[in-house]
Symmetry: C2
Subunit: 190 residues, 2 copies
């Protein structure tokens, strides 16, 4: 089913209205605020894409959207700039503790991250295993390598532990993913 703007409508079951998934998101938002306030990086969460159907114009100063639908996002949630480089990533929390099922991420988000990599940007996925209380960063090139060489529908945690990088909880910033980039991407470049 095609909706205005060429994007499909998001089904309710795939939208996260509960508290599940919000903790990591709010921690990343706080981290990005910290990066911004300290002039370290300029990275934002993109607004959720919505198709607006009806707007009630009460007056010139107030208007209310009275009917709208969620759309399937065509890109990832976060992007920005750090140390001259374009940064782009998606963040996911899961309750499974043995692997990351591909069904947790839209296929066009993966192909978007692949394009970012091809154009010289840094693309990755932040995965939190809720029950293990562990958060990993895996670069898109390592993520894709697995699926291109294995006919599987999920990424085993062993592979994530081997190729990915654990993000340790800190006080400030909470989820210091740029530290990983400092150690990996920028070290590689030097």
């Amino acid at each position: 089913m095609k909706y205005p703007g060429g994007l499909k409508k998001e089904s309710c079951k795939s939208i996260d209205y509960s508290n599940r998934g919000m903790k990591l998101e709010s921690e990343i938002n706080l981290t990005n605020e910290y990066y911004l306030e300290n002039d370290i990086a300029v990275i934002y969460k993109k607004p959720t894409p919505i198709t607006v159907n009806k707007v009630d114009f009460k007056n010139r100063l107030d208007c209310v959207i009275t009917e709208a639908h969620y759309k399937v996002p065509s890109t990832t949630d976060y992007n920005g700039i750090y140390r001259n480089k374009y940064i782009d990533f998606e963040a996911k929390e899961i309750n499974k503790s043995t692997s990351f099922p591909l069904s947790n991420i839209h296929s066009h988000q993966i192909s978007h991250l692949k394009k970012i990599f091809n154009h010289g940007g840094i693309g990755f996925i932040i995965i939190r295993f809720n029950k293990l209380n562990e958060t990993y960063l895996i670069f898109i090139e390592d993520f894709l390598f697995y699926f291109e060489h294995n006919n599987k529908k999920s990424l085993p945690i062993e592979y994530i532990k081997e190729k990915g990088f654990i993000i340790k909880d800190k006080y400030k910033p909470r989820i210091d993913y740029l530290e990983i980039l400092d150690n990996v991407c920028f070290e590689r470049m030097n």
Copy 2:
């Protein structure tokens, strides 16, 4: 008045519901689609930020937002990657033919573009003068230079013509702003 998410609510009069301003936007969207399809660049328009107040859950597959408000955007409308570089810009159409009044752009959008420049990205504003049928690209550093050295509230068209770059109408892509970047930014870098 503070709204959830730390952003103020957008007043209706500053939101563009009419066709005004839509022509340039749709031309830029078509241009970005062309860049994407031809694997030239990955640049998207960000969704309009909205605060959702009420959602009607009809069933697992359908939900409707029944109350939401527009928020003032904290960043610009467009960003992405081109030739390894982070790209960030805002696009504005105006009916005035002699200058670009600062009131056409949110102050935090200007400070956002300044941060992008400071972090090594390419930031600019695309301005279309509707009556002249002319579209210009002006880099944020040139835009800011004027206001830092002149106690004015608008950018004269003479300055835009001198420091900015005209974007000529083409068939495909419509608004080929990356051509300017090729000639200016990437030439400077070589």
